[in-house]
Structures are given as structure tokens and as C-alpha cells.
């Protein structure tokens, strides 16, 4: 238990060093744009692939379970929309990003630590925590919502594609279902969660990378810890944020 509190304390102290004015704004912007590409745009492929197929699977499962003539087939579109927007895109895709982006951040910073590159930054008088972690956090918080909106759109498209291909639900019914009782607030809720999750992924992974000591083995361990703890914290915060935003 003491270890948990020590880690939380160290995390908070590191974040105090991260959230300071960057040494040079120009360098910060350059780095942030690089990270938008590295952490966000390079994840487009996996996000697109998973979203399309998950949307399709949700649509097929819903259609398969509707066996009462009293339930209209438009419910398939409604169910796909609600599950994709409320939970699948913001939470599941964030968990996938925690694996992909989190391990990348932790191993990159961890390797810099064990090869003394972070010491070199410190010796030059650079706030290494701010220089390395801050652009990643800001880039993730900016690009992840874009990825999630893209994921929502593809998830719904995947559902429509599956229904069209199998002929289970007509396009008219599917689109009608998508429009039933739509509330714009659900998008706000999903994107708010996404921004929180993006912060968790980048900051927790940055923390585990930054505190790495040793060699290649420890970098691997840091990477694993970053993914595990980011995922666990995302799941916990998902419950808290859902309670706060939807009730």
C-alpha cells in the first residue's frame, strides 16, 4: 500500500515539473506537432480497422437478438449509435491507444533514461520532464478526440456496411434508428471522457518511462506497467466520469 502512495506522490511531483512554461515556445510547438503525428495520426489505421469491425459486430449481434416482431429493425441503428458513441469509441479505443501509444511513450522515454539522454538534458539546464512529457500530453489531448470522432463515424459506417451486406436491416431502417432520440450531449460526454483518458495515457506512460532505472529489461517492464496502469486508471475514471456526466 505504501508503494502505491509513494508512486502517486512521485507522479504528482513529476507533473509539477511537467506543467511549467516551456523553455522555448517554438521548440514546444514543433515537438507537439511531431507528437500529434507520432501518437495520433500513426494510430489512424488501427483505430479505423477496429472501429469498422466492432460497429459491424454490434450491428449483427443486435439484429440477431431481435426476434420479436414488436421491436422495429431500426433499433439496430439506434443500438449501434448508442454503444459506439457512449462507450465503444471513447473507452475501448482509448484502451487500445493506451496499449499502442502508452507503450511507445514509456519505452521511448525509458530508453532515453537508461542511455543517459535525460541526464544530458538536465546537465544542459533543460527541464527534461517538461521537454519530454508536456508536448506528448498536449498532443494526445488534442488529437485523441479527433481519433474518437473518426472512430464513431467508422463504427456506425461499419454497422451499416454489415447490415447492407447481410440484408438483415435496410438502409432506411438503419438510418432511421440512428436518428431516434439523438442527443448532442452524448458526443460532449464521449469527448470529455476522451480528453481525460488522453491525459491519463500520456502522463502515466510518461511517468513510468521517466522513472525507469537500469537497462533493456527495465525499459520493457516500464512499458508493461505503463499499459497496465493506464488501462486500470481509465476503467476507474470511466465509472467516475459516467456517474458525474450522465446522472
Amino acid at each position: 500500500m505504501l508503494k502505491v502512495f509513494t508512486s502517486i506522490g512521485n507522479y504528482v511531483m513529476l507533473m509539477r515539473r511537467v506543467f511549467t512554461h516551456p523553455q522555448k515556445r517554438g521548440i514546444f510547438w514543433d515537438q507537439m506537432l511531431t507528437e500529434v503525428n507520432n501518437l495520433g495520426l500513426e494510430s489512424l489505421g488501427i483505430v479505423a480497422f477496429i472501429s469498422m469491425f466492432m460497429g459491424a459486430v454490434v450491428a449483427i449481434q443486435t439484429a440477431y437478438n431481435i426476434d420479436s416482431p414488436l421491436i422495429p429493425m431500426s433499433m439496430v441503428g439506434f443500438t449501434v449509435r448508442q454503444s459506439v458513441i457512449l462507450e465503444f469509441s471513447p473507452t475501448v479505443i482509448s484502451l487500445i491507444l493506451a496499449g499502442k501509444v502508452g507503450s511507445r511513450i514509456a519505452s521511448e522515454i525509458g530508453t532515453m533514461r537508461v542511455t543517459e539522454q535525460i541526464d544530458a538534458l538536465e546537465i544542459m539546464g533543460v527541464n527534461s520532464a517538461n521537454y519530454l512529457i508536456f508536448p506528448k500530453i498536449i498532443a494526445s489531448m488534442l488529437i485523441n478526440p479527433v481519433l474518437i470522432v473518426f472512430s464513431m463515424w467508422l463504427g456506425i459506417l461499419g454497422g451499416w456496411g454489415a447490415m447492407t451486406a447481410t440484408g438483415l436491416v435496410s438502409t432506411n431502417d438503419y438510418v432511421q434508428g440512428l436518428r431516434i432520440d439523438f442527443e448532442g450531449y452524448t458526443i460532449f460526454y464521449a469527448l470529455t471522457k476522451t480528453v481525460f483518458f488522453a491525459f491519463i495515457i500520456a502522463s502515466v506512460s510518461g511517468f513510468y518511462g521517466y522513472i525507469t532505472r537500469g537497462g533493456a529489461l527495465e525499459v520493457g517492464q516500464a512499458s508493461t506497467k505503463a499499459v497496465v496502469f493506464s488501462s486500470v486508471i481509465i476503467i476507474l475514471f470511466n465509472l467516475v466520469l459516467t456517474q458525474l456526466l450522465l446522472t
Partner: protein, 248 residues
């Protein structure tokens, strides 16, 4: 001048540095020598603040480094250049970007001025036409020289070199040693070199501090080190086949 006064450092129950006091003079190549695990790297990291000392003080020209806060240290560190054992070049940057990094961070020079300075320091370490190469494309000796170029790009007052010859052949080691000594004299800076290479000691050791089991065991220079009666130092100095044969 850098002064280390009564430095103590422990890691858990391992007492690594025991009451170490020594001075490192300006315009000289000051060597810290000792066996692997004797505590010389820890001492160097205490001097630059990468490790916090448990007791004692580190003074940079009468400025108490150990009492400085984070911001004050950041400012002082702009006067420090350091060459790490593996070079510690930034993997994601090419040679030019590595050397230009401190100039980008701390100066408002135009790109052309920075390029000029980069080319000057790269020339100074005898490297040409390597600006676009990545660190992974360089040999061990070239990486060390790029790291020296980066360390001197900002005209430091203090230069720290942690085992600059590790992993290098004797000839390249000699080149690096002489480069360090030339830079020290040329810019009149305080240079501290960690090494266990006796060739380095005999060629550039203006001042030599021998650390043995975490204690300062002997201080002298390259002229006096061969005549010492200190048994532990003798064992270190004449520990290799070559030096023991020469002694005979």
C-alpha cells in the same frame, strides 16, 4: 574552480562516497581515477547534481551548488558541458541537430549563426561532412567527438567527461584525450575526467585524484603517480600486464 568538501553518499546500506574532499583547478585537466565500482562516477554525478549528496558541499567558483534550488541549478548548468560514457546523443536527431540543440534552447541566434557555430565546433573535434548523419550511423569514436562538440557548443566554463575512452581502441583514445586537453587549455576551463585508463593519466593528468573504496586515497599528478609508495595506488597503476612489465 570546483571544490568538493566532505562529500558523503550512500545508496541504501552501501556507503559509496566517504568524506571525499578535493579541488579541481581551472585550466587543468583534472582526473578522477579508480577501479570500477570505486565511486568515481557517483562523485562526478554528485558534482553536477545528478545525484544529491547526503552530506558535504560542492562549490563552483565559491557558489554553493548544493544549496541552489532547481531554477538556480538550471542557470548554472548552462555553464557546464558533459561528455557521457556512451555519448548520450539524442537518437531522434542527426549530428547537426544534436550539436545545435543547446543553441536552440538557450540562444536567440539566427539559423545561419547557429550553423556556423555547429560547423566550427565539429571542425574543432576533427569531424567534417557528418552533419546529416544519425547517431546510429557513427562509430564509437565519432559519437564521442560529436558529444564533445555538443558539450562545448555553448562555451562552457566546466567540462565533465565520464570515461571518455570506454569502448575505444588505444589510438582513438589518445585522440580523444588530446582533444579534451587542447580544449581545456584553449578555453581555459575546468575539466574533470573520470577514467581508469593509465594512458590517459600519463598523457593528460595535470591533476589526479585516486578514489579507493569510496575514499580519496591519493592526490598528485602524472609526474608523481609512478613514484608513489601508496600500495593500493601502485596496484592500480601497475595492474596491467603492460605496465607491470614496464616497471620491471
Amino acid at each position: 574552480m570546483i571544490e568538493a568538501r566532505n562529500i558523503d553518499k550512500t545508496f541504501g546500506e552501501h556507503h559509496v562516497l566517504k568524506n571525499v574532499s578535493c579541488n579541481f583547478d581551472k585550466g587543468k585537466t583534472n582526473l578522477i581515477i579508480g577501479q570500477s565500482g570505486s565511486g568515481k562516477t557517483v562523485l562526478m554525478k554528485c558534482l553536477v547534481g545528478l545525484f544529491e549528496v547526503d552530506q558535504g558541499t560542492v562549490m563552483y567558483n565559491n557558489r554553493n551548488f548544493t544549496r541552489m534550488n532547481f531554477e538556480q541549478r538550471k542557470t548554472l548548468r548552462r555553464e557546464i558541458g558533459m561528455l557521457f560514457q556512451g555519448g548520450a546523443l539524442f537518437d531522434s536527431m542527426n549530428v547537426e541537430q544534436n550539436v545545435m540543440f543547446p543553441l536552440n534552447m538557450f540562444t536567440n541566434q539566427l539559423l545561419e549563426e547557429k550553423r556556423e557555430r555547429v560547423n566550427f565546433v565539429l571542425n574543432r573535434v576533427n569531424l567534417e561532412n557528418v552533419n546529416r548523419l544519425m547517431p546510429s550511423e557513427l562509430s564509437g569514436g565519432m559519437r564521442k567527438r560529436v558529444a564533445i562538440a555538443r558539450a562545448i557548443a555553448m562555451n562552457p566554463q566546466y567540462l565533465f567527461c565520464d570515461e571518455p575512452n570506454s569502448g575505444l581502441d588505444p589510438q582513438t583514445s589518445g585522440v580523444i584525450d588530446h582533444l579534451i586537453q587542447e580544449i581545456t587549455l584553449e578555453y581555459n576551463i575546468t575539466t574533470i575526467v573520470n577514467t581508469h585508463d593509465m594512458n590517459s593519466v600519463l598523457s593528460i593528468g595535470d591533476s589526479v585524484a585516486f578514489i579507493y573504496k569510496g575514499e580519496l586515497w591519493w592526490q598528485g599528478d602524472k609526474e608523481t603517480i609512478l613514484d608513489t609508495e601508496n600500495p593500493e595506488l601502485n596496484e592500480f597503476v601497475f595492474g596491467t600486464e603492460l605496465t607491470s612489465r614496464l616497471k620491471k
